[in-house]
């Protein structure tokens, strides 16, 4: 999809965090990507250095955590792990299911170096 634009939004968020924590650099960025988010991991890895160039995240490693697709059945209440184009309950076969996970596209966490404050912070 729009992996470069997504990486630019990602870098924007990361830089905001880095500034708030007075970090000299960013070493690791963790993003969770669901198969139903419309974003392809390998394309995002390719686009990331372009978006990160010239920023304090220039040397950062991008870790993409693929989430599984899980649905909860509205008929039998069971949860199942399913493929992207078959969101059907694995237990009773019913198609009326609710997506529990699989469409995430989220910056989870960043690891900063030489920060001005100590300890772990939540933003």
């Amino acid at each position: 999809m729009h992996e470069l634009a997504i990486c630019q939004a990602l870098i924007g968020e990361v830089l905001q965090v880095a500034r708030a924590q007075h970090a000299a650099s960013v070493s690791d960025i963790y993003v969770s990507v669901g198969p139903l988010s419309g974003v392809e991991g390998p394309l995002m890895q390719n686009a990331f250095p372009i978006a990160a160039a010239g920023t304090v995240a220039n040397e950062a490693k991008l870790h993409l955590q693929a989430t599984s697709i899980r649905v909860c059945c509205e008929e039998c209440g069971e949860e199942s792990e399913v493929p992207a184009n078959r969101l059907v309950c694995e237990h009773c076969g019913h198609w009326r299911t609710r997506l529990v996970s699989g469409d995430e596209l989220m910056l989870q966490r960043v690891v900063l170096e030489n920060t001005g404050s100590g300890g772990q912070a939540h933003v």
Partner: protein, 248 residues
């Protein structure tokens, strides 16, 4: 989901941030900062603003999505002909180049704003917001946003619409919902367009299209329509009238 209360931690990613999880510890001398921020937040924020704008004017906004050539503009032309006398309609047209589609709509006596996206393959909430600056919503009942013909990218960008209408034209084949699950999962209504061709196509079965749609857990209704022959248009027009009334 919001990005503040933790509801965006799903069973798919909670193991990453849970105590003892892969992301909970880092080596010494560094600081780990939990962020939990969606990467489409800027678009979603603008989309919310657009939706509020439509609602202030009591306008129903529909996002039409399909492959190129599935018949979005032809459907709009036939819809305007049928409903133009009873509803005030406006159209936001998205295309990479040309004003051709906007011209077709204007020829039906309806205001149309063309967004030329250049090489961008979808509309986003910011583009729609800019277009709305050129569109006076006073007295308008219904705005169609005709997205760029594309079954991939438009699905990920909320524009501020109330409903997504996905068009699946019969020559495309009945397995499109299985091939493009992200798009068809987002549809609130699926229109099987060019239904007049069903009698000459031996490889499109509307029931199979519906079963593929159900397999991606989408309960959306499917209507067979032909903008050319007018067949099936009544059901679509009735759906539109009902949705407009429920917004007013």
């Amino acid at each position: 989901m919001c990005d503040t209360c933790g509801c965006n931690v799903t069973p798919g990613n909670e193991h990453l941030v849970a105590a003892g999880g892969h992301l909970a510890h880092t080596s010494s001398g560094t600081e780990s900062v939990e962020v939990l921020k969606g990467l489409l937040d800027a678009n979603d924020h603008q989309a919310k603003h657009n939706r509020e704008h439509f609602e202030r004017h009591k306008v129903l906004a529909l996002n039409l999505m399909s492959s190129p050539g599935a018949g979005k503009t032809a459907l709009l032309e036939a819809t305007i002909e049928a409903l133009g006398a009873e509803l005030n309609i406006a159209v936001v047209e998205g295309d990479l180049e040309t004003e051709n589609d906007a011209e077709r709509i204007r020829n039906k006596g309806v205001p149309a704003i063309q967004i030329s996206t250049g090489s961008a393959c979808h509309l986003d909430a910011h583009m729609v917001h800019s277009a709305l600056h050129d569109l006076d919503l006073d007295g308008i009942d219904l705005v169609f946003i005709e997205n760029v013909g594309n079954l991939v990218c438009p699905a990920s960008f909320d524009l501020g619409q109330h409903h997504n209408v996905a068009l699946l034209s019969t020559p495309e084949g009945h397995d499109k919902p299985a091939k493009y699950p992200v798009m068809f999962r987002a549809a609130d209504l699926v229109l099987i367009t060019k239904s007049d061709l069903l009698e000459v196509l031996d490889d499109f079965d509307p029931d199979i299209a519906e079963s593929y749609l159900r397999q991606i857990a989408n309960p959306a209704p499917l209507f067979k329509v032909s903008a050319k022959s007018g067949s099936g248009m009544d059901r679509w027009l009735e759906w539109l009238r009902h949705e407009v009334v429920s917004r007013a």
